[in-house]
């Protein structure tokens, strides 16, 4: 009887069924799309973080940079000194070049002994210390000092960086400041750290016996830009390094954490940071107690900053971050609003249906139907309407997710790293051609690990189950409200004369 009556009502009152189901379907579809896009954005964030901090890194430990000048620990400024006779002079200009390796300015270094403290903590499965450095190269041509002095006094009104007006078309200066990031890491540690998440594209990666040798592995994107390849050499801090391998990020088009990777001890010696590191990468034994591990690490290393993956997620910026905010805020609110509207439509239509069927339910009560049976009947109708909407919504939602995945929007993300922080690539270029006015300074690109991540929205069974459960809940809610209305009808309504 229940099934027969239910079926007859749904089929014969098709309009109400369709309206309730369509409302529910749209809401459910939106929930599924928003949910899977959000999951996709989260995956993309994880991928970007993975490329910067290494897959499997649960916690990173760093130290905030001290204010410049405070107790004199801050590294020397970007200063290049050329004594008299430096460089080679030809045709009135002097060519000079110098390269300097210094600790990254966004982080401070700390004692490598901290690594032992970290490894000793319970819950740490692996840890690796790295030293994040910046190599800055200055090379260029300076006007011949003697000839400039013989010329116009006007040359001396310049601020010393570039003559505003070269005398008689000769004696202009042109120089480049190039900088790239260098990461010193333990060549024997491969389980955790920035090089644990990369793919080797050429040559080999660093190995245990590279300790103490001048070998370097390059980010392949950087190598392409700088015109370097395996077998060649790269000048780091005035020392020539053999390029032994090229690596790229395992996650899509992302760049890796640093431009150049060299053995830790070499990096320490060359930068004058003996026995110092700037970050520790920590892998936890269990992903469940990362918060506990963070607390105990903070207690063990009170002077350091301990960050978990989720702390780091907030450092991802760019359109990926915008997408994340969009999905997180707008998407969630939109789903809530549309879901609420669908629930409201279901409730209002159910109530109006009950009102329209007052005499019908009064009659059923008069011939002996209990309140429970009537409420059950109404709830059954609403639940089926909700479920029909839910199933249609899942179908629409899956099509929507498919469309998102076919379009596959590309998001740009930059994880401004505490670790990889520094200049990448472009550097500063100043050129004062003969007669040209002033020097032109290029914008310093301050972005470590900028990645283009293709958004891929995954659909999980649990999202579908949640969506169907929401549709069911909407149906139940509408049925409960409608049933409550019907249960308050007097059976004597059946005797009301026909309108």
């Amino acid at each position: 009887m229940f099934i027969t009556y239910l079926r007859r009502e749904l089929v014969n009152r098709r309009k109400q069924t369709i309206i309730i189901a369509v409302g529910m379907a749209l809401a459910i579809a939106l929930v599924i799309i928003v949910n899977s896009v959000a999951a996709g954005v989260k995956d993309a964030q994880t991928a970007v973080l993975g490329s910067v901090y290494g897959v499997g890194t649960d916690i990173t430990i760093s130290k905030a940079a001290a204010a410049p000048g405070a107790n004199g620990t801050a590294g020397p400024g970007q200063r290049f000194d050329f004594g008299p006779g430096a460089g080679s002079t030809a045709a009135g200009t002097t060519a000079v070049a110098s390269s300097r390796l210094t600790a990254g300015r966004s982080t401070a270094t700390f004692d490598a002994a901290s690594l032992g403290t970290v490894t000793g903590e319970a819950g740490v499965s692996a840890a690796a210390g790295v030293l994040s450095l910046n190599n800055t190269t200055f090379d260029g041509k300076l006007p011949d000092v003697n000839r400039t002095e013989q010329g116009s006094d006007r040359a001396q009104t310049g601020d010393g960086s570039a003559p505003t007006d070269g005398p008689g078309g000769t004696g202009g200066s042109s120089f480049n400041i190039n900088s790239f990031t260098v990461l010193g890491l333990d060549p024997s540690e491969s389980a955790v750290g920035p090089l644990s998440s990369v793919t080797l594209t050429d040559g080999r990666t660093l190995a245990s016996d590279d300790t103490g040798t001048d070998v370097a592995v390059l980010d392949s994107a950087y190598a392409t830009t700088a015109g370097l390849s395996v077998g060649g050499t790269i000048d780091i801090g005035g020392t020539s390094f053999q390029i032994v391998g090229l690596v790229e990020s395992s996650s899509g088009d992302a760049t890796t954490a640093s431009n150049v990777y060299i053995p830790l001890d070499v990096a320490q010696n060359l930068s004058g940071e003996s026995g110092k590191i700037s970050s520790i990468y920590v892998q936890a034994t269990s992903s469940d107690d990362i918060a506990t591990l963070k607390t105990s690490l903070e207690a063990a290393l009170p002077d350091n900053t301990v960050s978990t993956q989720s702390d780091l997620a907030s450092s991802v910026s760019g359109s990926l971050s915008t997408a994340s905010t969009l999905v997180g805020n707008l998407g969630t609110w939109l789903s809530i609003i549309v879901l609420a509207a669908a629930f409201l439509i279901a409730i209002l239509f159910t109530i109006s249906g009950v009102t329209r069927r007052t005499r019908e339910f009064g009659t059923l009560k008069a011939i002996g139907w209990s309140n429970r049976r009537i409420v059950g009947q109404i709830a059954g109708e609403s639940v089926v309407q909700g479920l029909l909407g839910g199933i249609a919504g899942v179908a629409i939602g899956l099509v929507g997710v498919l469309v998102v995945n076919l379009v596959a929007p590309t998001l740009t993300a930059s994880a401004s790293g505490r670790v990889g922080g520094g200049f990448a690539g472009r550097g500063i270029e100043a050129a004062g051609g003969p007669g040209a006015a002033g020097g032109r300074f290029g914008q310093a690109a301050h972005a470590a690990a900028t990645s283009d991540v293709v958004l891929n929205a995954p659909v999980t069974v649990s999202v579908i189950l949640i969506a169907v459960a929401l549709a069911l809940a909407g149906g139940l809610l509408a049925g409960a409200v409608g049933g409550w209305r019907a249960s308050r009808l007097r059976p004597a309504e059946a005797l009301r004369s026909v309108a």
């Binding site: 009887m1 027969t4 009556y5 007859r8 009502e9 089929v11 014969n12 009152r13 005499r359 019908e360 009659t363 059923l364 009560k365 008069a366 011939i367 002996g368 139907w369 209990s370 309140n371 049976r373 007097r490 059976p491 004597a492 059946a494 005797l495 004369s497 026909v498």
Partner: protein, 222 residues
């Protein structure tokens, strides 16, 4: 058998209170056929609600057989309506989305019968009102007289103690009216149930064993 003692029913509205039944004391023996007449607004339907366990009196006592209807809760009243009382309405009150057979089956739904038994009893009831051919039709596909026959089948399919009818011929033309009255009388005679019919129509009332007249909530024997 019905036993009503000092039954009063008032409806309190926002402004004034209407007393639809005033101190009604009445006995209706089992198996009697009673016609209730009276002017509109006199209280006929209200009395039928008391007899049909649809509502409780404001004061006084209503007893049907062993049950004191005026003291029972909603669930127990629903059970008594399901087992002992058959109702026929002026407007037929069939469920528009259900077929004739399914409409009759609704009366058996609360009794917890198997599907087969429910269907076979419902179709037997429809046969007994000469609608065996129309079982699959929707109410809208039936004439007024046929719809009332379906409603009568729905009322008697449970083999009730009493059959209550509120102006069962009120919406029908004269020929159909006689047909329905003959059907009801036939059922009353055959099943020996108590039949109480509210009617405006003296021709209908004349066929009853006993006639009551209600005016301003007061019952008089005719």
């Amino acid at each position: 058998m019905y036993q009503l003692t000092h039954v009063t029913k008032s409806y309190s509205g926002s402004k004034n209170t209407v007393t639809a039944l005033k101190d009604v004391t009445l006995t209706i023996p089992k198996g009697q056929m009673v016609a209730i007449q009276g002017p509109t607004g006199g209280g006929k339907s209200t009395l039928l609600q008391m007899l049909g366990a649809l509502d409780r009196p404001t004061s006084g006592e209503v007893v049907l057989g062993d049950s004191t209807l005026s003291k029972l809760g909603d669930t127990k009243l629903a059970r008594i309506r399901a087992r002992e009382i058959g109702f026929v309405f002026q407007g037929f009150n069939l469920i528009p989305t259900l077929s004739a057979l399914e409409n009759v089956e609704t009366a058996l739904a609360p009794l917890g019968l198997s599907n087969e038994e429910r269907t076979s009893r419902a179709s037997a009831a429809l046969e007994s009102v000469s609608l065996g051919e129309r079982m699959r039709h929707l109410p809208a596909e039936l004439s007024g007289g046929q719809q009332q026959r379906v409603a009568i089948a729905r009322a008697i399919v449970k083999n009730p103690e009493v059959l209550l009818a509120d102006e069962p011929t009120g919406s029908l033309d004269e020929d159909t009216r006689d047909e329905i009255m003959e059907l009801l009388e036939g059922i009353w005679r055959e099943k020996q149930l108590t039949l109480i019919i509210v009617t405006h129509d003296s021709a209908v009332a004349k066929r009853a064993e006993r006639r009551l007249h209600i005016k301003n909530g007061t019952v008089k024997e005719l």
